[in-house]
């Protein structure tokens, strides 16, 4: 029979740090291994998909990707016509920001608009949980077409409501209407397969080399190699080649997904003193050039 806990967290800090019996450390973001964007244990971005009653948003941009089957006609229109709509403002607060700057491999300045990250963009909106707020949606292909409608803000935390819809109690767990079971783990990093190779924010570079054999130039630029390239001799041209060069994943100069699935230990080896450990002598002592301090 399951032992009932006789220690009950009461206030918010006690609740926040409480770990249910049997739950591992990874159930708390602060003691989980990784980030959560998307991360290894949970993809926090998925919390925002259902923040407005009736619609489903893409977790990493402001695109509307779904509507509740029972939603009214106006909401249904955000999907039913086949036109893509983006949520551009909530309660007068913009959900996008203009960006200007050089794009990857395109030296000219471009001017674009990017969706803001949800946690920050919605910080002023969340206190209006339970209320209707004015939302504006823009047609992705015809920026002049804007649809406005009032949508209800969902409660972020698990709450008890009285018959008038007023919050009478609240717990620090995320409400079911924001994230049903399975929602937070449906899109995680897959480190030993795809993400180790392709992580776009180079998170995984924190635990592996990225830009190697680097030669700084007089003009402030550097030359070097991508650690993922097949030629490990160090004699190849110092040119950083990435998948994004031609916009296609799988440049043949680089170690491929299949290479990693089949034999990652052979294709990407431990590094000691800045060199790949030889395949035949994985842990041979290598001179590091560091002198021992004399006593």
């Amino acid at each position: 029979m399951k032992k009932t806990s006789s220690i009950e967290p009461k206030n918010l800090t006690a609740q926040l740090h409480y770990r249910g019996e049997g739950n591992p450390p990874s159930t708390h973001p602060s003691t989980a291994v990784s980030n959560c964007y998307p991360g290894l244990e949970m993809d926090f971005r998925n919390v925002w998909k259902h923040v407005f009653e009736g619609i489903e948003l893409l977790e990493y941009s402001n695109l509307v990707i779904g509507v509740d089957p029972g939603a009214n006609e106006k909401i249904q229109r955000l999907i039913s016509t086949g036109i893509q709509y983006e949520l551009i403002s909530v309660d007068g607060i913009p959900m996008t920001a203009p960006v200007t700057g050089p794009f990857r491999h395109a030296p000219e300045m471009i001017h674009d608009t990017m969706a803001l990250e949800w946690s920050n963009a919605l910080a002023e909106v969340l206190p209006k949980a339970g209320q209707f707020v004015l939302c504006k949606f823009q047609n992705s292909n015809n920026l002049r077409e804007i649809i406005s409608m009032e949508l209800k803000v969902c409660h972020f935390f698990d709450v008890d409501l009285n018959r008038n819809g007023k919050v009478v109690n609240q717990r620090v767990v995320i409400a079911r209407e924001m994230a049903s079971p399975g929602d937070l783990t449906q899109s995680l990093c897959s480190p030993w397969q795809n993400d180790y190779r392709e992580c776009d924010c180079f998170y995984w570079a924190a635990s592996r080399p990225d830009f190697v054999n680097v030669e700084p130039g007089k003009d402030g630029k550097s030359k070097g190699n991508n650690w993922m390239q097949k030629d490990r001799t160090g004699t190849a041209d110092k040119k950083y080649i990435s998948d994004a060069e031609d916009g296609v994943r799988g440049n043949p100069v680089l170690v491929s997904y299949q290479d990693l699935f089949a034999a990652w230990e052979e294709n990407l080896r431990y590094i000691i003193a800045g060199k790949d450990v030889p395949l035949n002598n994985p842990l041979k002592k290598v001179k590091t050039g560091v002198k021992k301090k004399s006593k």
Binding site: I7, L12, Q131, V159
Partner: protein, 418 residues
């Protein structure tokens, strides 16, 4: 059970209670640490020894008038002038102070300007001009700004009421009791009582408060310890909330609380708290602000290494344009923090935040209430020390118990309507 680290509160059963009592009475620190780890309640390290660094400035007070028409014996401003020649803050200094606030606000999005003194309404024109200026800047820069004023109430007019209502001021009126009791402690400089005039002035504000909030602050001295009568009457009059503050340090030691008075005050505060609980359960509003503030902080699990934002997010500004750790340190070298021309002296600030961290205070670093209290008002501690620790612990002990009762019976108290 309260775990100071993180101000965490738990309900425990009799078996655990007994176990903990045993460990505590044997002073078994190893046993306690082990028990905490076994139950996944170990230290979170929420507050370490490191001081806050480079805090954004979110709040300033302007000693907009360093003069006053009253002669309260315990006044930290020594009847308004801070011991130097009485003066008003020139408008350009007030504007410069607002500019400093905006410049140092950094990533914070909320700001507060408090008008203090002396009696701030003695320099009404500057007060109104700088309020308008600050609001215009905030609107233009998409920032939120709030205004507050602490006034003796004797100079309040209907124009002030309209102005405070328009700008949504938090107005605090200093009232130490009802009728003669107040008059004894807060007379005009002539010795004449001020209560009647204050109530006459404030009644229209109490009736019209929508955007503004008008609260009363009672300074408690050995001469005005019957708190409930004062609380009941001020609530009846219509004050949005009423709060009590013990007089712990006054220039010359006038009317300071001693241990006997503090014990009596604690008894009276608990009496008021019990009235608060009774009213809450009955669904009636009883705005005893010491209680409601403490309850909300406890519910949030507030845990702080300092008693307030003085010297960090909050600075006081004197009429001559000097910066101070807070409004009580105006014209006082001990709390000097720079000036409007040269800005915040960061080395003084860093030294202050290092030295005044609660881990460096005695006897705070071994006190269970240290992260709820934070070490006590800097001005009081520097001038007099810590005579009120038993009172603070006694009050917190009562409020912690009340919290568990209220959380069970009226949890909605913690979730007021937005």
């Amino acid at each position: 059970m309260l775990i100071p680290d993180g101000s965490r509160i738990y309900k425990i059963d009799k078996i655990i209670h007994q176990k903990l009592e045993e460990l505590l009475s044997n002073n078994d620190q190893v046993g306690i640490d082990q028990w905490l780890v076994e139950n996944d309640l170990q230290s979170l390290g929420q507050i370490d020894d490191n001081p806050v660094t480079d805090p954004p400035l979110t709040s300033i007070s302007l000693a907009i008038a360093q003069k006053c028409n009253l002669g309260c014996s315990y006044c930290y401003a020594q009847e308004g002038g801070f011991g130097v020649k009485a003066k008003n803050m020139p408008l350009e200094k007030a504007i410069a102070a607002v500019d400093l606030l905006f410049a140092q606000n950094h990533t914070a999005h909320r700001m507060n300007i408090a008008f203090l003194g002396g009696e701030p309404l003695a320099n009404r024109e500057a007060l109104q001009t700088v309020t308008r200026y600050a609001r215009e800047r905030a609107d233009a820069e998409l920032k939120k700004i709030n205004f507050s004023i602490t006034t003796n109430g004797t100079l309040l007019t209907m124009d002030d009421a309209d102005f405070f209502e328009q700008y949504g001021f938090s107005v605090t009126v200093s009232l130490d009791g009802i009728g003669e009791l107040h008059d004894r402690l807060r007379p005009y400089k002539s010795g004449k009582g001020s209560y009647e005039r204050i109530i006459r002035n404030v009644e229209p504000l109490l009736a019209m408060q929508k955007n503004m909030q008008v609260s009363a602050r009672v300074t408690v001295t050995p001469g005005n310890l019957h708190l409930k009568e004062t609380l009941d009457e001020l609530i009846r009059l219509g004050f949005h909330s009423v709060g009590f503050s013990p007089m712990l340090s006054s220039p010359g030691g006038n009317d300071e609380m001693d241990s006997v008075s503090l014990e009596k005050m604690l008894e009276n505060m608990i009496n008021c708290g019990q009235e608060f609980e009774k009213n809450l359960v009955a669904g009636k509003r009883y705005p005893f602000s010491n209680m409601s503030t403490a309850l909300k902080e406890i519910h949030r699990g507030t845990h702080r290494p300092y008693p307030c934002g003085a010297g960090a997010g909050y600075l006081g500004v004197s009429a001559s344009g000097e910066l101070a750790a807070c409004h009580r340190f105006v014209e006082n070298r001990e709390g000097y923090f720079g000036n409007l021309t040269e800005g915040i002296d960061r080395s003084i600030q860093q030294a202050w935040l290092t030295e005044r961290h609660v881990h460096r205070q005695e006897p705070c670093k071994n006190c269970w209430a240290r992260y709820l209290c934070g070490g006590g008002c800097h001005h009081e501690v520097i001038n007099r020390g810590r005579p009120a620790c038993d009172y603070i612990r006694g009050w917190l002990h009562y409020v912690l118990q009340a919290y568990t009762r209220i959380l069970d019976r009226r949890p909605d108290f913690f979730y007021p309507e937005q």
